[in-house]
């Protein structure tokens, strides 16, 4: 039997449609797998102890503690620290590239930033161990620099390319007539940037920041290698911290399948998934809301 062009056409449509729905299936199965496995943790551990417990100590003899709060706090500490460094630097760089950089300079800068976006997180973690941690220890007179500050600094580096590239695009997307109108009114380039261009690009810049934050929050290897991984509740940037991602990475390998500890790690994964999903959704909402306004 010879297959006609029409039959091939119909077959192709079915194949592509199936592939399209695959991504929905994947997202839903990740979601349900996390919920399903995570929920099993609560057969032996009370949700109150998990969500409101300050101590994470799965190895404690007879009385293991699975309080996620210290992990969440560690994650927030390094992530927000990273944003404090990366947001001003990133937006500043993006504004320079989009508005002021001469073409030749721009052609030099852009590839460096795009290339750095491709640097694997282990390589950044490695630089954290060999270069940044000793520098932090030296500057602040500490015994070692494997602490939250180191993690925050490295995560800032990792999220900078995302922030710069997306924010630059947002700033470029501001119609040139806005700036020309501002110049016509006698405003200086600085004034135009601060009072016209940046506010007009605000939605895209916020989306850039949220994307960078999502990247920092979900980073595993960098924080695993560079923050010391003490599971005690951290008191500040000079303390060693252990994030949610690092905890899963450290403990899943040494945990027997089917134990309470094993399922608790999936519950931690579910919380992490929930937080990054929320950040994603918020950043989309921001981008959409502001876009309609302008």
């Amino acid at each position: 039997m010879k297959i006609t062009a029409q039959q091939t056409d119909r077959l192709a449509a079915i194949v592509f449609k199936t592939a399209g729905w695959l991504s929905v299936v994947v997202l839903l199965s990740i979601f349900s797998m996390l919920l399903f496995n995570g929920a099993k943790a609560f057969r032996t551990i009370s949700p109150v102890d998990f969500f409101f417990g300050l101590n994470w100590n799965p190895a404690a003899y007879g009385q293991p503690k699975f309080g996620i709060l210290s992990l969440i706090f560690s994650t927030l500490l390094v992530t927000l620290g990273a944003m404090l460094i990366a947001v001003p630097l990133g937006i500043g760089t993006a504004a320079y590239m989009a508005v002021f950089a001469p073409r030749r300079v721009y052609r030099l800068i852009k590839p460096v930033i795009e290339l750095f976006a491709g640097v694997p997180s282990v390589a950044v973690g490695f630089a954290g161990i060999t270069v940044v941690a000793p520098a932090i220890a030296w500057v602040f007179g500490l015994n070692n620099g494997l602490n939250a500050l180191n993690g925050a600094f490295l995560l800032a580096l990792m999220s900078l390319p995302t922030i710069i590239i997306v924010a630059e695009e947002a700033i470029r997307a501001v119609p040139p007539t806005f700036q020309e109108a501002s110049y016509a009114l006698g405003a200086t380039p600085q004034k135009t940037l601060w009072h016209v261009t940046l506010p007009a690009a605000m939605s895209g810049i916020l989306a850039a920041v949220m994307l960078g934050m999502g990247r920092a929050l979900g980073e595993t290897m960098t924080v695993l290698m560079a923050t010391g991984n003490a599971s005690a509740f951290p008191g500040g940037f000079f303390d060693s911290v252990r994030t949610m991602t690092a905890t899963i990475a450290i403990e899943l390998g040494e945990t027997a399948q089917g134990t309470a500890h094993y399922y608790v790690l999936f519950a931690v994964g579910a919380v992490l998934f929930g937080i990054s999903l929320t950040i994603n959704i918020i950043s989309e909402k921001i981008a959409r809301r502001f876009r309609y306004k302008i």
Binding site: Y96, V112, G118
Partner: protein
């Protein structure tokens, strides 16, 4: 203006310093022996051949899964789908998949591929896990490449009597191909450098033999670097080897990136 230049300068110096540090100190460890032999003496001597081979294998397996599915999804979204709630659901799923932390893909790989499907810790399980991680990226870049093909080209093909599939196959895809390849290279370079998703799905600390099938465990460059810089019993002693590993890993990933950039630059020039 000065402030902005200062920001840019700081960023460039930081990025540049990390590249420079790894390139200069890593270059000292490079030799044919380092590239072409296995680790010896409890990984304090010898080379990284098994890690290089493992990373190449797992990246190829990732490509086999992620590229066809990713491109097919992109074709569906851009060439077939109308703006319905179903299409919006697919797009939302892809955008959110792109933001899922890589360690969560690792959890998924353990629960579904290693245990659920019974693949065990293997090249196949790791490749599948990395494939899922890369999928949203390839879909997004593939869709962009397809969007850049002018609608008039499709209409021209249809007017000559081509079926929908014939117009995609012989007109749209060839035009979008460079863009699709660029996206695939960038996505795969990310997969090649990932550690968290393979941590529990197949990568091994040290193996005496190279993997011979997709069911074997494997060594990988990113994991090897992690081991050499944090888990080794003589960390200071093996620091030069760790720098060498970092250089090869960075070199491999940047090579994929650079070839994508050059391809993109050439393709843009041809187009105009």
């Amino acid at each position: 203006m000065r402030l902005l230049m200062l920001c840019t300068l700081i960023v460039l110096v930081l990025f540049g310093f990390i590249f420079w540090d790894i390139f200069t100190k890593g270059a000292g460890a490079l030799s044919w022996e380092f590239l072409l032999t296995s680790p010896r003496k409890g990984m304090t001597a010898g080379g990284i051949l098994p890690a290089v081979v493992g990373t190449v294998y797992v990246t190829l397996i990732t490509a086999v899964f992620a590229v066809p599915f990713g491109v097919a999804t992109a074709i569906y979204l851009n060439e077939y789908a109308h703006d319905t709630s179903g299409t919006r659901l697919i797009r939302a799923a892809i955008r959110n998949l792109a933001g899922v932390p890589s360690i969560v893909y690792g959890l998924f790989g353990v629960a579904i591929f290693v245990q659920g499907f019974g693949l065990g810790a293997s090249l196949l399980a790791s490749g599948l896990t990395l494939g899922l991680l890369t999928l949203p990226y390839i879909v997004a870049t593939g869709e962009e490449a397809l969007r850049n093909v002018p609608g008039s080209h499709r209409e021209g093909a249809l007017a000559l009597g081509a079926t929908h599939w014939q117009s995609i196959h012989s007109v749209v895809l060839p035009e979008a191909m460079p863009g699709i390849v660029v996206g695939a290279l960038l996505g795969l370079s990310r997969a090649a450098g990932e550690t968290a998703p393979i941590l529990f799905t197949g990568v091994a600390f040290y193996l005496r033999y190279l993997p011979t099938s997709v069911w074997d465990e494997f060594m990988a460059l990113p994991y090897h670097l992690f081991i050499m810089s944090t888990q080794h019993h003589a960390i200071q002693e093996v620091r030069p080897l760790a720098y060498g590993t970092a250089l090869i890993l960075l070199g491999f990933v940047l090579l994929l990136n650079l070839s994508a950039f050059f391809l993109r630059a050439r393709y843009r020039k041809n187009f105009r």
